[in-house]
Symmetry: C5
Subunit: 303 residues, 5 copies
């Protein structure tokens, strides 16, 4: 997530100089060729870039809309995960409270369920970002680790363990039916958040949209240069480059939001959110070692 | 689902050469006729393609929006099916866990309910794609098969069996009321996912939209050729073809998403998702024969 | 619901020849008058149709969006009705299953509740389409008929009967609290589907939108004819008619979706959906007389 | 809610003649001044109205979208209120049904809860429309009236009474836990419908949108007149007025939907819907005095 | 929330004079430079501002849409908080009602839970606005304060206390399972409202959108001035300034809605809503000291 409202000129240039250059070269070559082959005398109608421009504006606008929607949906899913994580821990923590604090075995059991949930969040985070890191194991016991070895989807397997233990407590009468239903509902919700995240991460946005957008933008750039070549001569390179830069940039912004779970500055800050959950839950457990919040990179973005 | 970000030029050409050719021929014939009948001297106002172009951009944009929404809704429905399938298996699997593993009859019963659910997923998949394949029978017993024979909607009939058996267990006291409610809710959800999928598969997008879009695009192409015929002569064929190609392509992309459950490269990868569910559920059952994930076709798309 | 992808030219002409003719006459009269009164010499600026065209494209686009949304929402509601109907029958049918089939009084009772629900669906169908048909009575007993006589909203009254009988069974202990809650929830859902359908059927789309759209389109047609009268003479009639035809058609398509529950080829196929529910439910009851699916009209649409 | 599809010319003129006149005067004064001060010779570029027109079309289109969404959301909320009102009455009415009709105290109690709900609907209606009418008191007892005196939000206070009585019945064992949960859920829903209605009624649409839209439309009108003054002379007044009329009208239509709960012909027909609920519920109670449905005003709209 | 429909000219000028001035200066400098360097003779094609204008209209329209959606979603969340707050208090207040009023310890307990909820609302309000005010402590006991000291997220910690006490009452048998479930659900809802608010407050809208919008608008302004410099001379400054003013203003309106929880006139009136909840809940408790509603600032907006 980009956090600084003042995007630095340097990082803008860094991000866009390659396609700016290609844009400029394309326009220059187009102009040179049109001069050389005398195409300049063929009066390409001004209609062409006007109509193409309108069509492209619609098309790129459509792409941006869908990209933003994916991004915002992704953010909502992880927001829902934060909410349910807090409710999960809260309900467990005060489950057996009569007047005194819960102690002994019960307290132990609750700690396991809460810590293991932090493990679930990190496992999901790593899975979505296709990272090999296994820091989620810090929140799991050795038995849990053994169980996970047989499963390909680690986060899903952690939910199995949570369900197993919750049912065990239910069988032992430590939680009653009403409490069981609401806690079990939380586990179903976690499964939903996981599946929804995977849906966004694994569903490729119809590639034809991006592909043809790029094709049409380049056609548009060439046409724009040609159409003005006769009337304004070499200045048509400036004209074409400028128009092209605007359309390319808007297109790129949309594309940068399409895969919100990737390790990109414009993505959803999974690390930040995971850490927030960790801090919230450990504070609830009155843990002594609360980790620090994730820091931003150059005060520009968080991951 | 298309998976490769680099759409190959060859497959683009393959996909669009027919209507590109028709587009080109139309423009050529238009130009020839206008020359021959001297229509070229009737100065068709440049206003015509401008206004038509704007109107068409709106119209095609509208179609693309609705098509994408159908596609994404279809993806969400099957994403929900994945989530609920996992929750279904998970809840069953740890239902009677006290401390030791479930054995004997109970284990058997759970296996039946989980495997039969995989059968439900495949039956729904085949039904939506109007395929005659009956591979879903692999996950059903002979009695189940007998029951299905009398029903036209196979997936729906599988849900009947699941409901029957769940109620039987409830009557026998193997699940209590709270567990029954949550498991039954899963069956209601499956019925919803099924019905929603059928709704998208069976509801034809208002055909007038596609029909008139095509009519208007061709009118637009002819007009664009005519309007520039006088000023730029034979180059108007290039102009008309180009403009037409852009509008036709955008329209086609939308159309290719309209029926997301068909066996198309741009459709929802039902086979992939069904297999994912199968793998997840069999892993949970600690089955020895986990099938492989569905492979992509030419690394271009999965079905 | 239109079902044929190949709209026949004949039905297109049938559907649009009246306003095409009016369109043509308007343009002709406009041209004749402008000639006669010499308005032709007043150079109406080309700006006018351009700006009006853009504004109209937005306006008609807006109308089409809302119309489509009403149509799709209507389809979703009846899709939800299908799903809940199946779940309703399924839950009832396996309610008291121990090992043997339910027989005698209980079976009778279940049959009544399932068949009466089919009656509910048809009563709602007829009510929404303001039809006087009373074929829904076939699914009701004489006592039910007596009850319905005092009520103006027949579908709503059928739900009263269902609620009454469900509560009776609950009092008798034939269903327990958990089952009662889920079955009662289905009845609440049916009431929601009914109310939502009535909302769409009875809420007139703000008439000002359609009225002014038509006014503006005709102003636009007259202006378009006038603006080109000087430069292209009598050809301006063709120009005006063409532009007008495109805008009128797009507008008409939207309007045809505005009232999705009416007996129109473009409406939601309530008869088809009602029959689907009937077939599904009768099959579940293992009824011998399964009716045929509703047939399409000329293979063009179903009602 | 406007109900007549044929908007009468007279009411259109009535509704729009003031701003039409102002529009006309503005254009006339603009033209006169430009003549007098010789501004007519400054060739204002045609670009200005084109670009402004496109920008305005977007802006007004945005406003219309949001206005329609508020209107439709308001309609949905009151549609939900209808549905839940029916379910509320239905569940109460058949609560204690065994085989004979409920009589005596219990019947009395149910009547109170159902009638008081009608009072709730009218109290909410009056509150939203800031009306001082107290006709909702007809559905309440004297004790209820006493309770309401201390509360500023009458509709909310009625819900307190409903909750109090429902809990009383629950304590007495007249409804069991499952029934209590579903009935209580209805009361929570009513509270939601109430709060959502208040949200729409009390949240002013960001005033800057309407304000600047108006400013820009007038700038646009003046520019359009000036830009054509040189080429078409005094006809530019007609031109400016026409363009202005279209944009102003579209803007006004949107504005008329912004506050859907006000006593406007274009608003949501709260009186009609309240009466529908009243009729439905009284019919269920088999009341003898069913009031008539609210009548339309001049067959043009209902309130 | 802006409340006055008549935005005062003074406050408009106040709000926009800076960028109006910069806009004017930019156009003047552009014109001066083009004169001085004779750029005026390079005929920049009119195409440039037309195409840029359309693209920008789409882009700014997109930004406004997303901004408005954030604003409206924020309003919905706090509207939901109002609804659930009322339901929370209502359910507690009539929890143990048989026929007489609740007295003594039970009444005490209920008062604590209701007042503490007001504290939750204020704590959330302050947290979202990053205010250091601790007025929420007025609604908490000393013990509560002690508990809060260890937690960084105060609002979340208040929910812990509510959960703890609700579970205590449940253990003591003062609420039964059904009531517990519904009350606990309210606490889960509060947690959701809190998390959703934090999501909107802490998720920066992709900064690239705002950054590039500004860049493109300034490019657009410079181009518009240059393009008309030749034909209309020094009047091009007026032209450029006007066009720029319109686009800049529309952009600024959108930006002002992007962070709806900040202390801005255009933000969501958290203070007003919090006070509404406070008044509603205290009235229910029949408290003697009902505070006044928050007053508007200059009758222009409420915070």
């Amino acid at each position: 997530m980009l956090i600084s409202n003042k995007v630095r000129i340097s990082s803008v240039i860094e991000g866009s100089w390659t396609y700016f250059l290609i844009d400029f070269l394309t326009c220059s070559v187009t102009y040179a060729l049109s001069e050389y082959f005398n195409i300049i005398n063929i009066p390409i109608p001004a209609l062409l870039p006007t109509i193409l421009g309108t069509a492209l504006a619609f098309f790129i606008g459509f792409n941006n809309n869908q990209a933003y929607d994916r991004w915002w949906e992704a953010r909502k899913i992880w927001g829902g995960l934060v909410n349910d994580s807090r409710s999960w821990a809260r309900q467990l923590l005060f489950l057996k409270k009569t007047t005194e604090e819960i102690q002994g075995e019960d307290r132990n059991f609750i700690e396991i369920l809460v810590r293991r949930h932090i493990g679930f969040v990190y496992a999901l985070n790593r899975g979505l970002r296709k990272s090999a890191e296994t820091d989620y194991l810090n929140f799991l016991s050795d038995d849990d680790f053994e169980y996970l070895r047989h499963e390909s989807n680690k986060a899903n397997a952690v939910l199995n363990l949570q369900t197993r233990d919750l049912n065990e407590w239910y069988q032992k009468g430590k939680v009653d039916g009403f409490q069981f239903m609401q806690l079990n509902q939380m586990l179903i919700n976690f499964c939903d958040h996981m599946g929804k995240s995977e849906r966004i991460a694994n569903t490729v946005f119809p590639t034809t949209y991006n592909y043809y957008t790029r094709v049409f933008v380049w056609i548009f750039i060439v046409c724009s240069t040609l159409v003005t070549a006769e009337s304004i001569g070499v200045w048509s390179i400036v004209f074409g480059t400028l128009i092209g830069y605007v359309f390319l940039t808007i297109h790129k912004i949309g594309v940068s939001l399409l895969n919100p779970f990737e390790m990109l500055p414009t993505g959803i800050p999974l690390n930040l959110i995971s850490r927030t959950i960790e801090i919230n839950l450990l504070e609830m457990l009155r843990d002594k070692n609360i980790p620090k919040q994730v820091e931003s990179v150059n005060e520009e973005y968080v991951l």
